[in-house]
Symmetry: C2
Subunit: 369 residues, 2 copies
């Protein structure tokens, strides 16, 4: 029986779903893979539960989930305490072959991730932020385990769920790159919320109407501008571009959100009112595209050394053009995949699909030295 | 610099393309991954070229490609000789961490693959046959590197290109399974030739007309029944079903080819004439499907413990239904990917795309213990 110790940053959301899936799949992983996944520490933003010895068993993990779901913080859990710092937790809880799993959405984990890598541990990221700050941090994480000063390494790190949640996007990109195939163009939609909005526009609804509806249904972030602005999609585009070896930063990504920066100062209710000022413009753009046999999508484009995120006119009968609803989709046009691109499509969000992708990453790493 | 020695079974076709890509990407793999891929032996069906010491460098590999492309056999190459047996070649040429790459289409490689695994070497298969004969052989290959008697292992073997060529089909399936996601249904088209035929039917052409055209254009095997019979697709369906842990064999796969077994006895020209007897039936099936908003595809279905391959009526607005032309497509409907399936789509054939997939497998294995 092989064991792998897990240190989890970020409980709540994806972290919770991951713990639940680890508990649920324990017997499966033991019986089928000869693999025992042992959770040894879990942290939220100011607290932690750390196994004194051994692991946090299903009873403790269950009590953590119940505590978090009833609104509690880890520092007030029966076995919990203040977090101290994440580096210290990796230092204390880490064991041979430990994997640090980052399900937060913050850059506060970066020092602990780098410390873990220095120790020879493994890392799995659902968190896009460490891969979209300094290029040095991106390289340190993605070439984890490299023994020399090489750009690439298919070794001790995984970050599949940073783009398209559980969809096999990063593994596909890494495989194309590893074969020496030359990727000429990446185009994709990486936001379910923006997919919903663009599908609505396509159906002839007004932007303000769709945004209000999505907001009321809880499909958007509490402040819908966090979706509509496109920054999250831009982070994903940057991760893909960096995956091609391009030395870009967030400031190099051209972002055209669905609303003008002038609306950033408004309250949420005022913003929801103000969106109607944009209705006519989007209606016209959709109609103009339709007149040319095209459709409007909120796409990320990685092409010719440049990353661009925003409303994009695409052929109606391309994979992106045929997509409707909230699914994510990526088209990769390469030396070997042309004129038809390689396409991956499906649910690109949701805590369970994301947690399942993280769990796949963890199991894969169990078989990497 | 890390080195990985490659023993290649099968030159010609995919094997040739692989050697060419290895030569072309040598500097890239060294510079970016710190990886030196060293071809130490290549074999065809009755000859071999084996490096005395070191490796077969680009000059030798180039001369092998030229020799093969001019119709020569390896036994008559300047450095070539009779093959002896493949086990012996693995024995002589194998080194620590060697990878045996099977680009043949025969079961003659099985003893050498098993011998290589016993030695602790790695294996990459583009060859479907070893994975579709005995279940024991399937398990031995796919759980290469397991230290106990476990069913699954994400270790020292890869077989991505056995289904959908370079498309990320096996890695996607293995990742879903590893997370404990439950795959309820796999549906896909895995033959460019059959995709071409079904698209033609959809456009109102006659079966006999399309088959004749595809044959004349060289889109089919020399005997088009090798495509139209569906056995190759059935092998792919079986590999997917076994990937789910199902204990099935080829005899358990229900195959409905595009022509009746009675036509197996005909010569190729007589067969091409006889196909017109089937025209009316297929025309009717396509029309009947269309009347219900559906389309006819040549699909593989893996569902409810059963594998079925043959003409299949699918919803016109499903991913399979929207596909046209020669691209392959797989839909995976699972606990987390429902009602919309996870979809992978793109070119699923061609020696270059296949060789690139094999090369990705090789590079991945360089980073696995």
């Amino acid at each position: 029986m092989q064991t792998l110790s897990i240190i989890l940053f970020g409980v709540g959301g994806v972290g919770n779903a991951l713990l639940r899936q680890i508990m649920e799949q324990r017997e499966f992983h033991r019986a089928e893979y000869g693999l025992a996944l042992r959770v040894v520490a879990v942290c939220d933003s100011n607290g932690a539960v750390i196994a004194d010895s051994g692991e946090l068993d299903n009873a403790v993990l269950g009590s953590i989930l119940a505590h978090k779901e009833s609104g509690g913080r880890l520092r007030t859990h029966a076995q919990g305490g203040p977090q101290g710092d994440l580096v210290g937790i990796v230092d204390i809880a880490g064991r041979d072959g430990a994997v640090v799993v980052d399900c937060t959405a913050s850059d506060a984990t970066v020092p602990a991730l780098l410390f873990a890598l220095d120790r020879g541990y493994k890392v799995v990221l659902a968190n896009k932020v460490p891969l979209t700050v300094d290029l040095d941090v991106y390289h340190a994480i993605t070439r984890a385990g490299a023994t020399g000063d090489f750009t690439r390494h298919l070794g001790r790190s995984r970050w599949e769920t940073t783009v398209g949640a559980g969809l096999p996007v990063i593994v596909t990109l890494n495989r194309l790159v590893a074969s020496g195939d030359s990727v000429a163009r990446i185009a994709g939609t990486f936001s379910g919320t923006l997919g919903y909005v663009m599908t609505g526009l396509q159906q002839g609804k007004l932007l303000s109407e769709i945004v209000r509806e999505a907001y009321d249904l809880g499909y958007t972030e509490p402040d819908p501008r966090d979706d509509l602005g496109g920054v999250d999609v831009a982070r994903k585009a940057l991760i893909l571009a960096r995956g091609l070896g391009w030395k870009l930063n967030m400031r190099d990504v051209t972002i055209e959100g669905l609303y003008p920066p002038s609306m950033d100062e408004l309250s949420v209710p005022a913003f929801l009112e103000a969106v109607s000022q944009l209705d006519a413009d989007f209606q016209e753009r959709v109609q103009q595209a339709a007149a040319e046999g095209k459709v409007l999508r909120f796409a990320a484009l990685v092409e010719d050394g440049h990353c661009r995120v925003g409303p994009t006119v695409v052929d109606a009968d391309s994979p992106l053009g045929r997509l409707s609803g909230t699914d994510n989709l990526i088209e990769l046009t390469t030396r070997w995949y042309t004129p038809n691109p390689l396409v991956v499509q499906g649910r690109g969000a949701g805590v369970d699909a994301t947690a399942a992708g993280v769990l796949s990453d963890i199991v894969e790493l169990a078989f990497v030295e």
